[in-house]
C-alpha cells in the first residue's frame, strides 16, 4: 500500500498550502481598485511572490543543512553563520526587487503592451514590499527553526511547507500595504 501512504502523507499538506494560497488570492481579490489605479502593479505580483518563495526556502534549507552539520543549534542559534545568511538574504531581496521594478516598467512601455506606469511608484512599491516581506519572513524562519530545534524535529521536513504557506500570505499583504502607502504618499 505504498501509493496509499504517499497520498496520506502529502495530500493534507498540499491542501493546507492551497488554503493559505486562497488567503493570498483573496487579498488580491480585494485589491481590484488599486490594480486599476496603479498601472503595472499586477505585473510585479507573480515576480515578488516568486522571489520571496525562492529566497526564503533557500534560507530555510541552508539553516536546515547548518543544523545537520552541527553549526547551529537551539543554544547556539544567534551566531556569525546565521548573521551572514540573514545579510545575504536581505541584500538579495533588495537587489532583485529593484530588478523586478525596472523590468516590469520596461516591458510595460514596449509594444505590444504599451502601458505607461509611473516608474518611481512602481519601483518604490516593489522595493518596500520585497524588503519588508523579506524581514518578516527571515524573523519567522528563525522562530520556526528555534521551535523545531527545541523539539528535536528535523527542520528539513517543516520549514519548506511552513514558509510556502505563510510566505505567500505575508508577501501579498506586504504588496497590498506598500501599494496603499505609495499611493497615499507619492
Amino acid at each position: 500500500m505504498y501509493a496509499k501512504e504517499m497520498v496520506k502523507q502529502s495530500l493534507p499538506l498540499i491542501v493546507f498550502c492551497g488554503l493559505g494560497a486562497i488567503v493570498a488570492g483573496s487579498t488580491l481579490g480585494v485589491m481590484t481598485d488599486l490594480l486599476e489605479e496603479i498601472p503595472g502593479l499586477i505585473v510585479v505580483i507573480p515576480a515578488i511572490i516568486a522571489m520571496r518563495g525562492n529566497i526564503s526556502t533557500a534560507f530555510g534549507s541552508r539553516l536546515g543543512s547548518a543544523y545537520h552539520l552541527g553549526i547551529i543549534d537551539a543554544e547556539n542559534l544567534w551566531n556569525e553563520e546565521l548573521k551572514q545568511n540573514i545579510i545575504g538574504s536581505l541584500i538579495l531581496s533588495f537587489l532583485v526587487a529593484i530588478i523586478i521594478g525596472i523590468l516590469a516598467y520596461i516591458t510595460s512601455i514596449l509594444p505590444p503592451i504599451n502601458v505607461y506606469p509611473n516608474p518611481v511608484k512602481l519601483i518604490s512599491i516593489v522595493l518596500i514590499a520585497g524588503v519588508l516581506s523579506g524581514i518578516i519572513l527571515t524573523l519567522m524562519t528563525i522562530v520556526i527553526i528555534y521551535l523545531v530545534f527545541k523539539r528535536g524535529y528535523d527542520p528539513d521536513n517543516i520549514t519548506g511547507p511552513a514558509l510556502a504557506t505563510f510566505g505567500d500570505i505575508v508577501t501579498m499583504l506586504c504588496i497590498f500595504g506598500s501599494a496603499i502607502l505609495v499611493e497615499v504618499v507619492l
Binding site: S10, G25, E80, T107, V115
Partner: protein, 187 residues
C-alpha cells in the same frame, strides 16, 4: 565559517534574475487580461491557488525522484516503474486537491458577493481542467529536469524546485485563460 553573504548573493542572483524574467512575462499576461479579471475577481483569487498547488506537487515529485536517483531505486529510464507510480500519484493528488480547493474558493466568493453568472459546476470544471493540464505539464517538466540534472552530475534537489515553480506559474496562467476561452466565460 561556511557561509558568507557575498557568496549567497553571488550564487543566488543569476538564477533569481532568470526566474524573475519569466515571472514578469506571466505578469504581463495578467496585465493584458486585467480588465476581465477585475470584472470576475473569483479568478483573481484562484490564480495564486492554481500556481501554489502546481508548484508544490511538482516540487514534491522532484524531491522524491531526486532521493530515488541518489539512493538508486529509480533508474534513468522513461520506462522506470517506480517513476510511473510517482507520476500517477502526483496526478491523483493534484486532481483531488483542485476539486477540494475549487469548492472552497467558490463558497468564499459567494460569501464575499464576488460571483457573477458562474455556476458551481462550471467553476469546478474550469479549475479542475486547468489543474489537470498544469499538473501534467509540471510533472513532465519535473521528471525531465530531475533526470537531466542527475545525468549531468548536478544535484536535482537544487534545480527541480525553482524550475518547476517558475514554469508552473506561467503555464498555470496560460492554461486558465485557454480553458476560459474554450468554455466561453467572458474573458
Amino acid at each position: 565559517m561556511i557561509y558568507s553573504w557575498k557568496k549567497i548573493v553571488k550564487y543566488g542572483l543569476p538564477l533569481l534574475t532568470f526566474t524573475i524574467l519569466i515571472e514578469i512575462f506571466a505578469g504581463q499576461i495578467l496585465q493584458g487580461k486585467q480588465d476581465a479579471l477585475i470584472k470576475l475577481p473569483i479568478f483573481l483569487i484562484s490564480i495564486p491557488v492554481i500556481n501554489s498547488v502546481g508548484g508544490n506537487i511538482g516540487s514534491v515529485l522532484g524531491a522524491r525522484l531526486a532521493s530515488g536517483l541518489h539512493v538508486g531505486y529509480i533508474s534513468l529510464s522513461m520506462k522506470d516503474k517506480e517513476m510511473h507510480d510517482n507520476l500517477f500519484i502526483s496526478l491523483l493528488i493534484g486532481f483531488i486537491t483542485y476539486l477540494i480547493l475549487a469548492i472552497v474558493i467558490y463558497f468564499i466568493a459567494v460569501f464575499g458577493n464576488l460571483v457573477e453568472d458562474i455556476a458551481l459546476i462550471e467553476f469546478i470544471a474550469i479549475i479542475v481542467f486547468t489543474g489537470a493540464l498544469l499538473i501534467s505539464t509540471v510533472a513532465l517538466v519535473s521528471i525531465f529536469t530531475a533526470f537531466l540534472s542527475f545525468k549531468r552530475g548536478l544535484d536535482p534537489d537544487d534545480i527541480v524546485a525553482p524550475v518547476v515553480t517558475t514554469v508552473g506559474d506561467v503555464m498555470g496562467i496560460v492554461f486558465l485563460f485557454v480553458i476560459l476561452g474554450l468554455i466561453g466565460v467572458g474573458i
